[in-house]
Subunit: 205 residues, 2 copies
């Protein structure tokens, strides 16, 4: 096990390794070589070996990596062996899509609270989650000890919402609003910016 700093690009790839491993496990594969891995993910095989070696020596020379053991190890590294409750703010188009989104593994990620400012929505139940008044968000998430927040409000109110979530104790934010958020250093941010993706995409066309 090395003590070197881990490149964020490596962290970027871990979820992809994991997905690939889960597929292999389902198919009954017990081992995979870095070469095979790299073909499936369009990477260089040395990249795969280096990425994995940051966390210890998992591979068997001449054989490869044990799929089950490696998958479980990656889950531990990424903190996926616990349940993350999430608070959603903004139950509009995207927000309500997330509430009913079936792509999450609910043993790991689940939206357990939802907030909006629209009185028509407050009190309604969507997929088992009751929409609450956004003005109560700081207190409520502190009460429920929720550490992840999802911002699905218009850009104009995103910063305000972020501050309310931080006040309530979240340490991670997933932001769908096309805005740069100004956050305390100890709060992590993941940004999903659809318009930006499209704008970049068409540059290459």
């Amino acid at each position: 096990m090395k003590e070197r700093r881990i490149p964020k690009e490596t962290i970027d790839r871990l979820p992809l390794y994991l997905r690939c491993l889960d597929k292999l496990i389902e198919q009954g594969e017990e081992n995979i070589s870095s070469e095979n891995f790299s073909n499936r993910l369009n990477l260089n095989s040395a990249q795969v070996r280096k990425d994995l070696s940051y966390f210890g020596d998992f591979g068997k020379r001449g054989v490869g990596y044990e799929t089950k053991k490696l998958a479980s190890k990656i889950r531990t590294i990424l903190n996926l062996d616990q349940k993350w409750k999430m608070a959603l703010v903004g139950v509009g188009n995207i927000g309500s899509a997330l509430l009913t989104y079936s792509g999450f593994d609910r043993r790991v990620f689940e939206v357990t609270m939802a907030f909006d400012r629209n009185p028509q929505l407050i009190g309604q139940e969507i997929d088992g989650v009751e929409v609450e008044d956004v003005s109560t968000v700081s207190d409520r998430i502190a009460e429920e000890n929720v550490k992840l927040g999802i911002i699905a409000v218009p850009a104009s109110s995103a910063q305000k919402v972020a501050e309310m979530l931080v006040k309530g104790g979240v340490t991670g934010l997933l932001n769908f609003a096309p805005t740069l958020l100004d956050l305390p250093e100890d709060v992590q941010l993941a940004q999903v910016d659809i318009t930006k993706e499209l704008e970049q995409l068409v540059y290459y066309l």
Copy 2:
């Protein structure tokens, strides 16, 4: 004007510059310095100057960059001074959210066609767009000369849908399914992977 290759990180940042400029223009600002820019976007000011200089010498020494001229230039670089019609495949949670999403500038990006395989959805109209049978997608987008496709189907059918879209002539894809797509070299891909974002996020918590 330099002939150097442009780093993709630079292309990544152009949409952010543009957003920032649009805000400044709205506020009536006529000029902005690289220093001011870099503060707003949490970058190094040399970075800003280098990024912009790839496309020509837009700045006035001692003054900065003309907001309107620069915004217009960036739009041209990114190919945003034309209208991009988009075909959406998969009118589920995320798909229907995208159909009614108000975050796009409709002079640039608009979902003009939608497809699904669910007979209950086919024929329905959502936000002015009629949902058509996915089996017709290749022909229909060729007919309408649509060059951008959005994949919002489950991972299991994403590759198949991608192939239908490519057959119909798209050159750019925005994929929401958590899968690696295997595409021809001349088809550009943008990936929006919410689960991956979350998995990376919690690593840092």
